[in-house]
């Protein structure tokens, strides 16, 4: 009898467990049932991680929930243009918008976004058992407000790294020629002087040997803000000029005269260093944004360069697109030794930690369904394949996935660097006037690139223009 009762209890327990498991397994279909016929619309930049969302995650979500998701991938400019217009005019076209880390402060200042943490707390029926904010890396902190509430689901996170050609750096003849020319061993640069020497050597080497080979990349477009970003977010910090040289704690001063750094001696030295590199980079550099820098490296036209991490995977592993598969090394950007000390002590950073999240506009007409999708792309379980397809890691557990560990080997340690050295990099400064100051100063920057004004005079003018714009915007008193 006791035995029978025991069997009966076990059967009930098993039944309950199965029921619970089934409920958990069916969360997506159960949660999606209420939103049949809903079509979610998202807009994002056309990048490898976003294309993965469009091509893989959105169809998978639709299969699991029955909620259709249409993701519009477009150019960086258009993406912002469309998202801001939609949220500003409150038209409610988009249910998800890509929030690049540098724009989050402006969006939060305008209350454009839904508080995801609060929404899920307020309506627990929408909370997926597989979604947990604690699973994200610390990069998610960029998308939180002062109370620690999340306003965007991180979907892209990478650092701008120093890539170099292992085949060229490891070639005995080239090593010998480099030694003869410089008296040094050829190895990835750690300082600006070393980087310049290597760049000069390879540009000359290409010329002497009739090769389409140059010593460095340069994201130096003369009419697109990509060049402005390369200088202020990748080059200037390695000389000790942080946050574009604007001091938010000192009445948003940009000029040295008022306590800023935009036109400081360090900034001027950094610009001259970069302009020299631009001069010995491939000719297309003057028309290169971050995308073209990636393709230049993949085409085997440069020996080294600073490349956005989102491009590192395909450059290193996709033989259909890249000529340098298996020959890509990864290192930290070359830095002034004094700056490295500042970086290690936590008072500076040596490069750009970029990325973005999907946010939910407050104007969306399908907030609940969109919250489901955002949780879907934030789960640990979808991260590994996503990271392999596009080199981005937003969840801590992804680093330990076997697929990612395998990919890390192909990338010569890019993911390990992201995990271990990511703290040395930083996102854009927390300015709500990001695009406004950039656009106010970029025309002067382009004139410097064209040689119409000198770098010293140009940076002076830029600092003045930045302060004038900040005054006009009402931030600088």
């Amino acid at each position: 009898m006791i035995r029978k009762s025991g069997i009966g209890l076990a059967a009930i327990a098993l039944g309950l467990m199965a029921g619970t498991m089934s409920a958990k397994a069916d969360f997506w279909s159960d949660a999606g049932a209420k939103y049949q016929g809903v079509v979610l619309h998202g807009v994002t930049e056309s990048t490898p991680p976003s294309n993965y969302v469009k091509d893989v995650l959105a169809p998978e979500f639709e299969k699991r929930t029955g909620i259709k998701v249409e993701i519009e991938t477009t150019s960086w400019d258009q993406m912002y243009d469309k998202a801001i217009k939609d949220m500003e005019a409150k038209t409610g076209i988009y249910d998800m918008v890509y929030i690049e880390q540098d724009i989050i402060y402006a969006y939060l200042a305008r209350n454009f976004l839904v508080d995801i943490s609060k929404s899920l707390k307020d309506d627990p029926s929408l909370k997926s058992p597989d979604f947990d904010e604690a699973n994200f890396t610390t990069f998610a902190n960029y998308f939180k407000n002062a109370e620690g509430n999340l306003f965007g689901i991180p979907m892209e996170a990478f650092i701008k790294v120093y890539l170099y050609r292992t085949d060229l750096f490891g070639d005995a003849k080239i090593q010998e020629a480099f030694k003869a020319a410089t008296g040094k061993d050829l190895k990835p640069a750690t300082t600006h002087e070393e980087y310049t020497q290597i760049a000069e050597f390879f540009t000359q080497y290409g010329k002497d040997n009739g090769l389409e080979l140059w010593g460095t990349t340069a994201q130096a477009h003369t009419g697109h803000p990509a060049s402005w970003y390369e200088f202020f977010e990748s080059i200037a910090p390695t000389f000790g000029v942080y946050n574009w040289g604007i001091d938010a704690n000192n009445n948003y001063a940009a000029s040295v005269a008022n306590g800023g750094q935009m036109n400081s001696d360090k900034s001027k030295t950094a610009l001259k260093y970069w302009l020299h590199l631009r001069d010995i980079a491939p000719p297309e550099s003057a028309a290169s944004t971050w995308t073209e820098v990636g393709t230049t490296f993949a085409a085997g036209r440069v020996a080294q360069g600073l490349v956005y991490g989102e491009n590192a995977a395909w450059i290193a592993s996709d033989a259909e697109k890249s000529k340098v598969v298996g020959n890509v090394g990864v290192a930290l950007p070359p830095t002034d030794p004094a700056v490295l000390e500042e970086v290690k002590s936590g008072t500076g950073y040596l490069g750009y930690y970029d990325g973005g999240a999907f946010g939910l506009p407050i104007t969306s007409k399908n907030k609940e369904a969109a919250l489901l999708f955002l949780q879907f792309i934030g789960q640990d379980s979808v991260q590994a394949d996503w990271a392999v397809a596009a080199p981005r890691i937003t969840n801590t557990a992804t680093y330990d996935d076997p697929k990612v560990i395998d990919m890390d080997k192909k990338l010569n340690g890019y993911y390990s660097m992201l995990k271990n050295e990511g703290k040395l990099f930083a996102g854009a400064p927390p300015f709500p006037f990001h695009a406004q100051v950039r656009e106010a100063t970029a025309p002067i920057f382009y004139r410097i690139l064209l040689g119409e004004i000198g770098p010293d005079e140009g940076l002076d003018q830029m600092a003045e223009a930045a302060e004038a714009e900040l005054t006009n915007l009402g931030y600088r008193k």
């Binding site: 009419g223 028309a287 406004q436």
Partner: protein, 294 residues
């Protein structure tokens, strides 16, 4: 009375559409132009600031430069298109093998979206990979780099516009030429007029309305060009091709300076009207006066 009512009723839909999509937005832009309004400013609300935006643009070097370079662009592009379009129209008046095929191919650029035209030209002109720099280097030893050479970038935007829009001019002038009566030309030939005299005294005056209409359309288009140039040069190098449409776009969208952008838009509309009026006065009014005198 009845015919008037029917007339107004028939016009009503057009007037309503024009009012909703043309007049009302213009009034709104005019309203915004008198305000300081940047949604990412410390105060994101619209604040009335009188004529400050208009005062600001008078001293804005970037805006004045963009106006100057736009007029230069429009001058070279429209003049070239009219000349080339006329020559092609004359060519198509003649019988030659494959004329129909050539006419069709020649009009193909017209059906290509401006953004695509810009993309194609960008691919053709990108240093190192473009076909145009390749042949210029191979044949003439000339290094074309639109990222560095302001003159080359400007010239290429003009050439791109000519490539895209000359077929429109050709088609318009071809239609005008085909509609001309034969008698005056036969009469002139009998009287011994040479080709230049026939062109200057007969053809040109007779197709003048078609030329003027085409010039007005192309001039207004050229003054507001954006997409093609955005794709090809993004307004660079520097500000070399930052035509006024592109300048307004940069002020209004990335910079979100709505008030100032609206003021520039109003002034550019005014300038366009003035330019067209001046052109009309210069080319049409003297002839009308002459005809009235006769």
């Amino acid at each position: 009375m009845r015919s008037n009512t029917v007339g107004w009723l028939m016009l009503a839909p057009t007037i309503a559409i024009l009012g909703i999509f043309g007049i009302l937005p213009f009034i709104y832009v005019l309203y915004v132009a008198f305000h300081q309004w940047n949604p990412f400013g410390a105060n994101p609300d619209m604040v009335y600031n009188g004529a400050n935006n208009f005062r600001r643009l008078v001293f804005d070097g970037e805006f004045l430069f963009s106006i100057g370079v736009t007029i230069k662009f429009a001058f070279f592009a429209v003049l070239s298109e009219i000349a080339l379009g006329y020559l092609l129209a004359q060519l198509f008046m003649r019988e030659f093998p494959g004329r129909g095929l050539f006419r069709t191919i020649h009009t193909l650029p017209l059906i290509v979206a401006p953004i695509v035209v810009g993309s194609v030209w960008r691919l053709m002109t990108t240093p190192s990979i473009g076909i145009i720099p390749y042949f210029l280097k191979s044949w003439f030893g000339y290094d074309l780099n639109i990222g560095r050479d302001a003159g080359a970038a400007f010239t290429l935007t003009v050439l791109m516009d000519i490539w895209h829009w000359t077929p429109l001019v050709t088609l318009t002038l071809l239609a005008a030429l085909l509609s001309l009566p034969k008698e005056p030309f036969e009469q002139a030939q009998i009287d011994g007029a040479n080709r230049w005299q026939i062109f200057w005294h007969i053809t040109l005056p007779m197709i003048r309305p078609a030329i003027l209409a085409t010039v007005f359309i192309r001039l207004m288009d050229a003054l507001r060009t954006v997409d093609e140039v955005w794709m090809l040069t993004s307004g660079g190098p520097g500000a070399a091709t930052r035509y006024v449409g592109l300048h307004i776009w940069k002020i209004v969208f990335p910079k979100t300076d709505y008030g100032y952008g609206a003021a520039i838009s109003v002034i550019v509309l005014y300038l366009t009207l003035v330019m067209c009026w001046l052109l009309y006065v210069a080319l049409v009014a003297p002839r009308q006066k002459k005809q009235e005198a006769e």
